[in-house]
């Protein structure tokens, strides 16, 4: 029992790290939206050309996409983790080198979409996702290794 709780604690720690990274990237993406919109706003007031403003608008749109992916991924992860914690399938697996690994079960209707959202999030924050049937293993990679 004590071991199980300890395992859960490590899993929760890994999930916290994933959320921290996601939060950081989300703030970055929102900043990207904000500063580029600000350029469009201020330059359009001065009568800049649509061509000139286009690249900033495109960049803002791109960052809205990133922010959306991060938000969807976070929502999918949090709901999956809560469900896994409730049915006791959230657990830490023995570390692979220095990288902490967390396993959770994702199943039921819409599981594919949920996993897809988590994969998208993971690709943006330095986390790898491995799916073995219903089992999903998240590996938190060292910071700055894989994400942009």
């Amino acid at each position: 029992m004590t071991e199980a709780r300890s395992t859960d604690k490590e899993a929760i720690q890994a999930v916290r790290e994933i959320i921290r990274r996601a939060g950081h990237e989300l703030r970055n993406a929102l900043s990207g939206v904000s500063v580029n919109v600000e350029v469009v706003r201020s330059r359009s007031e001065r009568g800049s050309s649509a061509k000139e403003l286009g690249s900033f608008a495109d960049r803002a749109t791109l960052q809205v996409g990133v922010a959306t992916a991060l938000t969807d991924g976070l929502l999918a992860l949090v709901s999956s983790v809560m469900a896994a914690a409730a049915d006791g399938t959230l657990k830490s697996v023995p570390p692979h080198g220095a990288q902490s690994q967390t396993e959770l079960m994702i199943y039921g209707e819409g599981a594919a979409v949920v996993v897809s959202d988590i994969e998208r999030l993971a690709s943006l924050i330095g986390v790898s996702v491995e799916q073995r049937g219903k089992r999903v293993i998240l590996t938190v990679l060292p910071e700055g290794k894989s994400h942009s």
Binding site: H24, R27, N28, S31, S34, V35, E38
Partner: protein, 502 residues
């Protein structure tokens, strides 16, 4: 017009592109570094007034960048912009020397805050840059206006003068008598925008009250018995320029009140006059008094002090700028040799030893007078210890400075220096000197005599009966000659030195 330079260090292109555009629109010259290492490389290659650095970057992160900037002494102001919104990271960034900290996301409010922070950070950078340029300009400088000195203490004085001169602020100059307070005032005036206007100096201690008041404010015709003409005072004569009030703490209290009123209203009324006369002056003042004591003794009014001491400048005494003694002595030698039409080659070793070990309580003025006298009295082309030393033996105090024995100095050199210092501290008392240094009075006489003859180090042999071995009567200074013939006095501790007031 040159645009201020800002470096954005962030690996997120969507942010750097947008932020660059915003800052360029604000008039900045913007460069981007995509990681901390590239930021360091760019900062090392060219100056940037401000760096906007992300806390989390590849290779070198924001905190490491701050540390490197400090270690490499790269001048810039760093504003940390980060998505890691934790108090710890903010505190750490500030501790590492960040100018400020802005959290992402950069909402419109935060962007406005960032836009407001950049000019403030640039102001700080520019002020520090000016100070750095000034420091490097002043480094190695031996002269500033009429002031001479290359010591760290004098460079600090030059720096204050340079900073304060362009303003209109009143400056209160502190310094012992003879340190050059009026020269500082003249330097401030000549470096100011009032340089083309008059500089009017008045010694407040040198004049009786009525005359001082008249000198300051002038009088109307018939103001007092014998005033047959009107006369403008110093305030009117210094209009458009600078007035320097030396020994201001000696000014009588009721004149201090009038002075305060004149400073506050920028207008004066002549003695016997009814109309106010506007004056445009800058006031510089000086005192050699302990100002806190002068205030507590009610010799100087608090309100006048605060008006005069907008900037305070402390002029170091000669004993605290020993590094300048040689420079000054040589300069005075050249000046007075030329004035007196004498070809002088310099000071001999014994003379230097005296000059460098004496504590010059009368400061630069005393050194100047001593060298002038030595040039006049000298019979050769080299100033000897006897030429420069005697006059001061009458009025020296103890030496507050430690004695330095250079590596390689002989025992004889060290003994001679000890004897010389003790001899000066006892006002030329052989017996007291002997007690202090632990020698016989005869040995002290011999040591001093050999020094006065310019033959240091020949003093260990027993002294002749007259106590001044080999000294010609003309070479023996009155004090030394008198002391050498005087009966041996009982030993006593040397008197405590006090700066001489003039």
């Amino acid at each position: 017009m040159k645009h201020p330079k800002v470096l954005i260090a962030d690996d997120d292109r969507s942010i750097t592109e947008g932020l660059s555009a915003i800052l360029r629109d604000e008039g900045y010259d913007v460069a981007v570094a995509v990681d901390g290492q590239k930021a360091l490389d760019q900062l090392g290659a060219e100056p940037f007034g401000v760096v906007l650095a992300d806390l989390k970057m590849p290779k070198v992160d924001g905190l490491a960048l701050l540390k490197e900037l400090q270690q490499r002494a790269i001048p810039t102001e760093c504003i940390i912009v980060t998505g890691q919104a934790t108090v710890d990271s903010a505190v750490q960034a500030m501790r590492e020397g960040a100018y400020d900290y802005v959290e992402k996301p950069l909402t419109a409010d935060k962007l406005n805050r960032l836009k407001a922070l950049i000019p403030k950070a640039l102001d700080k950078f520019n002020v520090q840059q000016r100070n750095r340029e000034l420091s490097s300009k002043l480094e190695g400088l031996t002269h500033y206006g009429e002031l001479t000195g290359q010591s760290e203490e004098m460079r600090a004085v030059y720096q204050i003068i340079e900073a304060v001169a362009p303003s209109n602020a009143s400056v209160l100059i502190f310094g012992e008598s003879g340190t050059g307070k009026e020269l500082v005032a003249r330097a401030i005036h000549s470096k100011s925008e009032r340089a083309k206007g008059p500089f009017f100096a008045l010694n407040c201690a040198a004049l009786p009250k009525d005359i001082l008041e008249n000198e300051l404010f002038g009088h109307e015709k018939g103001a007092f018995t014998g005033s047959v003409n009107e006369k403008p005072g110093a305030f009117e004569m210094a209009d458009g320029g600078t007035i320097f009030l030396d020994e201001v703490a000696e000014m009588p209290p009721d004149i201090q009140v009038k002075l305060l009123r004149a400073i506050e209203s920028r207008s004066i009324r002549r003695l016997g006059g009814k109309k106010e006369i506007d004056v445009d002056i800058r006031i510089l003042a000086a005192t050699n008094r302990d100002v806190q004591k002068a205030l507590s003794d009610n010799d100087l009014r608090d309100d006048l002090y605060y008006r005069l001491a907008v900037v305070e400048l402390f002029l170091p005494p000669m004993r605290e700028r020993l590094g300048d003694v040689k420079l000054l002595a040589n300069e005075f030698l050249v000046r007075f040799a030329e004035q007196n039409g004498k070809a002088m080659s310099g000071f001999d070793d014994a003379a230097w030893e005296w000059i460098l070990s004496y504590n010059w309580p009368g400061n630069v003025r005393e050194l100047k007078n001593a060298v002038e006298r030595a040039v006049i009295m000298s019979r050769g082309d080299t100033i000897k210890a006897a030429d420069i030393m005697p006059r001061h033996l009458h009025r020296t105090g103890e030496f507050p400075t430690p004695m330095t024995v250079p590596a390689g100095a002989t025992l004889a050199d060290t003994r001679r220096q000890l004897v010389l210092r003790a001899f000066a501290s006892t006002n030329g008392d052989y017996a007291r000197t002997a007690t202090i240094v632990g020698m016989t009075a005869a040995d002290v006489r011999a040591e001093i005599a050999s020094l006065l003859n310019g033959r240091p180090g020949e003093s260990s042999t027993p002294a002749p009966t007259n106590g001044v071995r080999g000294a010609k009567p003309a070479d023996v200074p009155p004090a030394a000659a008198k002391a050498s013939k005087a009966p041996v006095k009982s030993a006593a501790a040397p008197a405590k030195a006090k700066p001489k007031k003039r």
